[in-house]
């Protein structure tokens, strides 16, 4: 199969490591390879690099002290540790926890585990606009609510939650607040002090850093029971010899994101608008998964519902032409369930079937968007023409 181009439109899934990040990491593999916990010079060098990275990372998210940053093995680990670690220390005998229905599985699965351990969990739904509304959370809060966990940017539909208001309302009822910032870190302003959160989770590979490194922000004084036990690294909060190159790369990656955040988010938002508007204009029976205004959307994620086609088929056809995207279709989920995110905003399964997520990033150009806009319509039209029900479902307007 000839692939004329390679266009990566799945930056929300992962990103390539930036060359400058790679360069920053390289010395810590083969030269300064010491264990940051060793006393001799090699160890001290690694320790300095580690603590320097921690300081820079803390600064990048507006933390008051570097000790508020715990480096972990991934975003998933951070989410797990936040939910399990905070509840275990603050209210070991049980209590009430709120998470949103459209959290990443890295939050939903530990929430299920908490239920098994005797906690009561409320799964708070977003409204149709794809946003968790403060009023709805206030209704769900109880006197015994220990922790609320609501993600900042949703990884599938790209909506941004009002974290500052949500955290303030949770605090008013005495609950702690965690947010999953894996998708938004570096892409839109994320300042823990400004948002007022007690805990936040991040992942390196979403921002041109390496895979397999994450961070957990724990505001000073936040109760936390370590979930990985051993040699007591990371101030006993997360044992295990630190991944010095990964952590150095993560800190570098964050700095690079912050360098041009404002311009880059405007550039990507313009590409997102161009792409969504053109797809909707060129293809009938197509819409965005939520109608929320652009100000509440992540700049880099376009979430489209292309009715009357199946997402995996679209994905494979686009892949033939060198384009990588993702879908929330049941057929591509393994479990044969449509995306829980799309279901949570009231999207019927047959519409989620045709969902397409196009996520852009640092190396996306307008020419990439133009190419996508050129090749998508014929793919969709061909698949619709192969469908036994398209005409029936969408009437005479069908093509």
């Amino acid at each position: 199969m000839d692939t004329p181009r390679r266009i990566y439109f799945d930056y929300a899934a992962t990103t390539p490591v930036d060359q400058r990040v790679m360069d920053a990491m390289m010395p810590y593999f083969m030269e300064d390879y010491g264990n940051a916990n060793s006393l001799y010079a090699l160890g001290r060098d690694a320790y300095r690099a580690l603590e320097d990275a921690r300081e820079r990372f803390a600064k990048g998210i507006g933390a008051t002290h570097p000790s508020e940053i715990t480096f972990t093995g991934c975003g998933t680990e951070s989410d797990n540790a936040a939910l399990l670690g905070i509840t275990a220390r603050k209210s070991p005998k049980g209590g009430h926890v709120i998470v949103s229905k459209f959290e990443h599985h890295a939050v939903l699965e530990p929430a299920h585990l908490l239920e098994k351990r005797g906690y009561e969990v409320t799964y708070l739904g977003p409204r149709e606009d794809g946003i968790i509304h403060v009023e709805d959370m206030v209704v769900a809060l109880r006197d015994d609510t220990v922790l609320v966990s609501i993600m900042h940017g949703n990884n599938e539909i790209g909506t941004i939650q009002p974290i500052k208001e949500l955290a303030a309302a949770a605090h008013e009822r005495g609950a702690l607040f965690h947010t999953d910032g894996a998708q938004t870190l570096g892409k839109i302003p994320f300042d823990v002090a400004e948002l007022g959160v007690d805990a936040a989770s991040f992942s390196g590979h979403k921002i041109y850093g390496p895979k397999g490194v994450g961070a957990l922000y724990l505001k000073r004084g936040t109760p936390f029971e370590p979930q990985i036990l051993g040699g007591g690294q990371e101030s006993k909060k997360r044992s295990g010899t630190q991944n010095v190159p990964g952590i150095v790369g993560f800190a570098k990656a964050l700095e690079l994101m912050l360098e041009d955040q404002a311009e880059e988010s405007l550039r990507l938002a313009a590409l997102r608008e161009k792409l969504t508007n053109a797809v909707i204009e060129r293809l009938e029976n197509t819409e965005q998964s939520t109608t929320v205004d652009p100000a509440h959307r992540m700049p880099n994620i376009a979430s489209l519902l292309i009715k009357g086609v199946e997402g995996e088929a679209m994905l494979l056809q686009l892949d033939n032409l060198g384009i990588a995207v993702s879908t929330g279709s049941a057929c591509s989920s393994g479990s044969l369930e449509p995306s829980h995110v799309l279901l949570s905003i009231g999207c019927p399964p047959e519409i989620a079937h045709g969902s397409l997520r196009v996520s852009m990033g640092r190396f996306t150009t307008e020419a990439d968007v133009d190419y996508f806009l050129e090749v998508l319509p014929p793919i969709v039209e061909r698949l619709r023409s192969m469908s036994p029900v398209y005409d029936r479902m969408f009437g005479s307007s069908a093509r």
Binding site: E310, Q317, C331, S387, P388
Partner: protein, 152 residues
Amino acid sequence: MLYSDKVMDHFNHPRNVGVIDDADGIGEVGNPVCGDIMKITLKIDDDKIEDIKFQTLGCGAAIATSSIVTEMARGMSLKDAVAITKKQVAEELDGLPPAKMHCSVLATDGLKVAVDDYLVKHGREPIAGEVKSADPNFDPHADEDDHDHDEA
């Protein structure tokens, strides 16, 4: 999850797509869980499948299995056609990923329903009998035990 080259070939170049206008038998089946729908139309002469076309709304495996089933069934007697199993379909495609085995049921069931449709229209006894994916309570997860054999 990986599709075999043959699956990709049939997905990218599906054979016998379309609808036979004056079809002798029509079969439409759906998988209510993942939402995929398949329609087969048949031209039948002397209890043999003379022509066969399909339309499918579904994943890569659903399209590829639909396509290959039309190739397999063309020229077959009705009796042989309804005996095609999902396992044979998967083998013909050099295997299907375990999670995609249920898609091949759609293709074999569509064919069965179309054949019976023809027979019943002509006042004859159906030979394929009940078909799972025409049943709204059909559970594709129930096929799990068949998965081991057909891995791609």
